[in-house]
C-alpha cells in the first residue's frame, strides 16, 4: 500500500503583507510613474528655478545667488518685451487658425464621400511627419528666390515677379508663416478632438434641432459647439502649452528673424541659455512662461468645470 504524504503547507511569504494589501500594492505600482515625473520634470524644474536666481553660466559655473536680478534684466530688455508679445501672437494665432481649420475639417470628414477613410488617414500626416522635414518643405514654399507659392501666383498671372511677397523677409508675413506652419501641425489634433466631440453628441439632439428648424450654422454654433466645448478646451490647453513652449518651427523656419520679428520665448531661452551659454538668463526667460501658462490653464480648467456642471 502506498501512502501519500500530506502536502506540506508552504510558509507564508514575508512579503505577503504587501501583496495582499491593495492600498500598499497600488502605491507601489504607481510609484515608478511618480518617480518618473519627479526625476524628469520636477528635478529639472527645480534646477531651472535655482539657475534663474543665480549667476550660473557655462563659462563660470558658480552658484552665486543674485535674487531676482535676472528677471529684472530680461523684463527691462526691449528684445524680451518684443519676444513676449510675439509668443502670445504666435500661440493664440496658430491655435485659433488650427481650431477653425479643425472644426471645418471634422465637419467635412463626418460626411460620407468616396475615399473618406484614406483622407482620414492622410489628415494625420502633418502630425506624423518629423517637424524638421516638414519645415524644410515649408521653407522651400516660402523661399525668397524659389517660392513655389510665388511661382504659382506669377504663372497664373495673379501677381508679377516684383509684386511677389517676401514671405520670410517681411516681419508681418514671417509671423504669419510661422503661425500657418504651426496651425498646420496642430490641425490634425484639432480634427481628432472635434471628431471625437461631435460623434459623442446623441443624434436625436441634432435631429430634434433640425426638426425645430435649426439650420447648419445654428446647429453648429448653438448646439454642437457648446456641447463639445469642454473637450475642445482640453485640446486647447494641450495646444497652448505645447505652442507656448515650442521653438522648433521658429528655429527651423526663420531663426527668429527677420530682425527678431518671429523670436518667441522658447527660442530666446534656447539662444541665450544654451547657444550663448548664459544659463541663468536662459532659465529666467524660460521660467517666465510658467506663470502665464499657469493662469491660462487654471482659467480654462475652471471654465470646463463650470460647463460640466
Amino acid at each position: 500500500m502506498v501512502s501519500i504524504a500530506e502536502p506540506i503547507a508552504k510558509p507564508a511569504s514575508r512579503y505577503r503583507f504587501i501583496l495582499d494589501r491593495r492600498d500598499v500594492l497600488g502605491s507601489i505600482m504607481v510609484a515608478p510613474a511618480i518617480l518618473y515625473v519627479l526625476l524628469l520634470v520636477g528635478l529639472p524644474f527645480l534646477l531651472a528655478v535655482y539657475y534663474s536666481v543665480s549667476a550660473y553660466t557655462i563659462y563660470d559655473p558658480s552658484w552665486r545667488f543674485v535674487g531676482l536680478s535676472n528677471f529684472r534684466q530680461i523684463v527691462n530688455n526691449p528684445v524680451f518685451q518684443e519676444t513676449l508679445a510675439n509668443t502670445f501672437l504666435f500661440t493664440f494665432g496658430s491655435q485659433l487658425l488650427g481650431l477653425v481649420l479643425g472644426k471645418f475639417g471634422a465637419l467635412l470628414l463626418m460626411r460620407p464621400f468616396p475615399g473618406r477613410k484614406i483622407v482620414r488617414a492622410l489628415i494625420i500626416l502633418p502630425w506624423a511627419v518629423p517637424i524638421a522635414l516638414a519645415t524644410v518643405a515649408w521653407e522651400w514654399m516660402f523661399d525668397s528666390l524659389y517660392s513655389v507659392i510665388n511661382w504659382t501666383l506669377i504663372s497664373l498671372g495673379i501677381i508679377t515677379r516684383s509684386e511677389a511677397p517676401n514671405w520670410l523677409g517681411n516681419p508681418h508675413l514671417a509671423m504669419l508663416c510661422v503661425i500657418v506652419v504651426n496651425a498646420w501641425r496642430f490641425f490634425p489634433f484639432a480634427v481628432v478632438i472635434f471628431l471625437a466631440g461631435i460623434t459623442s453628441i446623441p443624434q436625436d439632439v441634432i435631429d430634434a434641432a433640425t426638426v425645430d428648424g435649426a439650420g447648419f450654422w445654428r446647429r453648429n454654433y448653438q448646439i454642437i459647439l457648446p456641447m463639445i466645448m469642454p473637450i475642445v478646451a482640453v485640446g486647447l490647453i494641450f495646444g497652448i502649452v505645447f505652442t507656448f513652449t515650442d521653438l522648433s518651427v521658429v528655429f527651423l523656419l526663420t531663426n527668429g528673424g527677420p530682425v527678431g520679428a518671429t523670436s518667441v520665448l522658447g527660442f530666446e531661452g534656447f539662444q541665450v541659455g544654451i547657444v550663448s551659454g548664459d544659463v541663468s538668463h536662459g532659465a529666467a526667460i524660460s521660467l517666465f512662461m510658467l506663470p502665464v501658462l499657469f493662469f491660462v490653464v487654471i482659467g480654462m480648467l475652471r471654465f470646463i468645470r463650470r460647463r460640466e456642471i
Binding site: Y59, D60, N166, N170, S276
Partner: protein, 446 residues
C-alpha cells in the same frame, strides 16, 4: 487532466520581479568581460560640422580612419549641421560626456567652454615651432590672454572675399573694390536685374560680412582690451547709414530672410552681380553652371573709408576634460597638423591656414587652379591673412563677443536701419545698449 494554472496577482508580481532582476543584473554580470574587451580596443570620437565642401568630409573621415588603423585606435567621426554645433557643445559639456575631440565652427567654444577643455598650449607651441608663427586670427581663436594658455587648437579659418560677375561689372565700367563702388555699381546693375546679394538675415554670413563693413568704417563693438563697448560712435552710424543705402539702392528685400546658402544660389543662378562669401559659392557654380562660374571673379573685400578688412569664420578643435581618450586626441591633432597641406587640398582651398608656413606660398589650388579660367583666379586668397579678422576684432574673442554674435545684434542693427524700422542713430543706440547689457553681465557689473 491538467487544469490551466491561474495567474494570480502574487505570481505575476513574482515572475515579473524575477524577469526584471535577470535583465537588470545582466550588465553587471557582463561588465568585467566587456570592459576587458573595451580596454583592448582604444577609441577616439570626433564631432565637427558638415563641411560646405563635401569632398573634405570624405577625405577627413578616411584620413582619421587610416590614422586609427595604424595606431590600433577605432576612430569615429560624426558630422552635424553647422547650426547645431553650439547646442551640441552645450549638451556635451552639461552632460560631462560626449566626443573626445570637438570641432567648433564660428563663434563660441574656445573661450566659453575653457573650463571644460584641456590646456593645449604644448600642442599649439610645438606646431608653431614646426610650421611658423601663428597668425593674428589664430591667436584670436583659441588664446586666453589672462593666463597665456590655449584652450583650443586653431585649425583653420574661412575667409570672405568678394565674388563678382566680371562681365556685368565690366559692362558698367566699374570695379567693386570699394564699398562706395559696390553701392553705386550695384544700383546700376540692380536696374538691369542683377542686384548685389548680401544677407541681412540671421546666420553666419551676415554676422561675418557686416562686422567686416563695420571695421572698414573704423567702428567696432569693443575696444582692444575687450572690456568696453565702443559701438555707439559716429563711425558706426556712418556704416549703418551706408548699409541702409546699399539695401535700398542695390539689393532686394529677399536678403532679409536669407540663410547661408541663399547668396550662393543667387550668384550661381546667374541673377546676382556680387556676393561676399567663401569660395564654396564659386566651387558650386563650377559644378552647376560652368558659364557663370567662369564669369565669377574673386577679389579682396571692398575698401572702406578707414581700412580694407572682412570677417572670417573660425574653426578649432577642443579636447574635453571628460574625454575618454585625451592622449589619442592630442596625438591625432599632431598628425593632422603634419598633414595639413592634404587637408587644404581636400577642401579645394576653402580652409585657410593658421600657421605661417604650414602651406608654403605659392599655395596649391589657389595660385594655379587647373579647374579655373584663368588659372590664377583665386590667387588673391593667398593674402587673406592681411584682410581677415574673426569676431571680437580688434579685441579678443570672449563669451560676451560670442553672445553678441549668437544674438545677431550687428545684423539686426543693420537690418533695422535698412528696413526703416529705426533711424541709423536709433539702431546704433539700440545695438550699443544690447552689447552693454551683455558686457555688464559677463563682466559681473550687472
Amino acid at each position: 487532466m491538467n487544469t490551466p494554472s491561474r495567474v494570480t496577482r502574487r505570481r505575476l508580481l513574482k515572475d515579473t520581479g524575477l524577469a526584471l532582476l535577470a535583465v537588470g543584473s545582466a550588465p553587471a554580470l557582463s561588465t568585467p568581460f566587456i570592459s576587458r574587451a573595451m580596454a583592448d580596443t582604444r577609441t577616439l570620437s570626433v564631432v565637427q560640422w558638415s563641411h560646405f565642401v563635401p569632398a573634405y568630409d570624405k577625405w577627413f573621415d578616411n584620413f582619421a580612419k587610416d590614422w586609427g588603423t595604424k595606431n590600433h585606435i577605432e576612430v569615429t567621426v560624426d558630422h552635424i549641421p553647422v547650426a547645431d554645433v553650439a547646442a551640441r557643445a552645450a549638451a556635451e559639456a552639461s552632460a560631462g560626456s560626449g566626443h573626445d575631440l570637438f570641432g567648433w565652427n564660428g563663434a563660441g567654444g574656445a573661450h566659453l567652454y575653457r573650463k571644460f577643455l584641456i590646456d593645449v598650449t604644448d600642442l599649439v607651441e610645438s606646431v608653431e615651432k614646426k610650421y611658423g608663427k601663428i597668425t593674428v586670427i589664430g591667436r584670436q581663436i583659441g588664446y586666453n590672454q589672462d593666463d597665456k594658455t590655449w584652450s583650443a587648437f586653431p585649425d583653420y579659418y574661412i575667409n570672405f572675399p568678394v565674388m563678382y560677375r566680371k562681365s556685368l561689372w565690366d559692362g558698367i565700367g566699374m570695379v567693386p573694390d570699394t564699398w562706395d563702388n559696390v553701392r553705386i555699381g550695384g544700383a546700376k546693375l540692380k536696374q538691369k536685374g542683377n542686384p548685389v546679394g548680401i544677407s541681412l538675415g540671421h546666420s553666419n554670413d551676415p554676422n561675418t560680412t557686416w562686422r567686416g563693413l563695420l571695421w572698414s568704417y573704423g567702428a567696432a563693438f569693443q575696444d582692444e582690451s575687450g572690456k568696453h563697448v565702443v559701438l555707439d560712435s559716429k563711425e558706426t552710424v556712418e556704416a549703418v547709414k551706408f548699409v541702409a543705402a546699399l539695401y535700398k539702392e542695390a539689393m532686394t528685400a529677399d536678403v532679409l530672410s536669407w540663410s547661408d546658402a541663399s547668396n550662393n544660389q543667387y550668384i550661381d543662378s546667374g541673377v546676382s552681380s556680387l556676393i561676399i562669401n567663401p569660395i564654396s559659392a564659386y566651387r558650386t557654380a563650377q559644378q552647376l553652371n560652368k558659364k557663370v562660374a567662369d564669369d565669377i571673379f574673386v577679389m579682396k573685400p571692398p575698401k572702406g573709408p578707414v581700412r580694407q578688412i572682412m570677417g572670417g569664420a573660425a574653426e578649432f578643435y577642443g579636447i574635453w576634460k571628460f574625454a575618454k581618450n585625451k592622449e589619442a586626441a592630442l596625438e591625432f591633432l599632431k598628425y593632422y597638423a603634419d598633414n595639413w597641406v592634404e587637408a587644404f587640398k581636400a577642401s579645394s582651398g576653402y580652409n585657410n591656414p593658421i600657421f605661417a608656413n604650414i602651406v608654403p606660398k605659392p599655395m596649391p589650388l589657389l595660385s594655379d587652379d587647373p579647374t579655373s579660367t584663368p588659372h590664377d583666379k583665386l590667387s588673391v586668397l593667398q593674402t587673406s591673412d592681411e584682410w581677415s579678422a574673426v569676431p571680437g576684432y580688434p579685441g579678443p574673442a570672449w563669451p560676451a563677443t560670442d553672445e553678441i554674435y549668437n544674438d545677431f545684434i550687428v545684423c539686426d542693427m543693420m537690418a533695422k536701419a535698412a528696413t526703416g524700422a529705426m533711424t541709423a542713430e536709433q539702431s546704433v543706440k539700440w545695438a550699443a545698449q544690447q552689447c552693454e547689457s551683455i558686457f555688464d553681465k559677463w563682466l559681473h557689473r550687472a
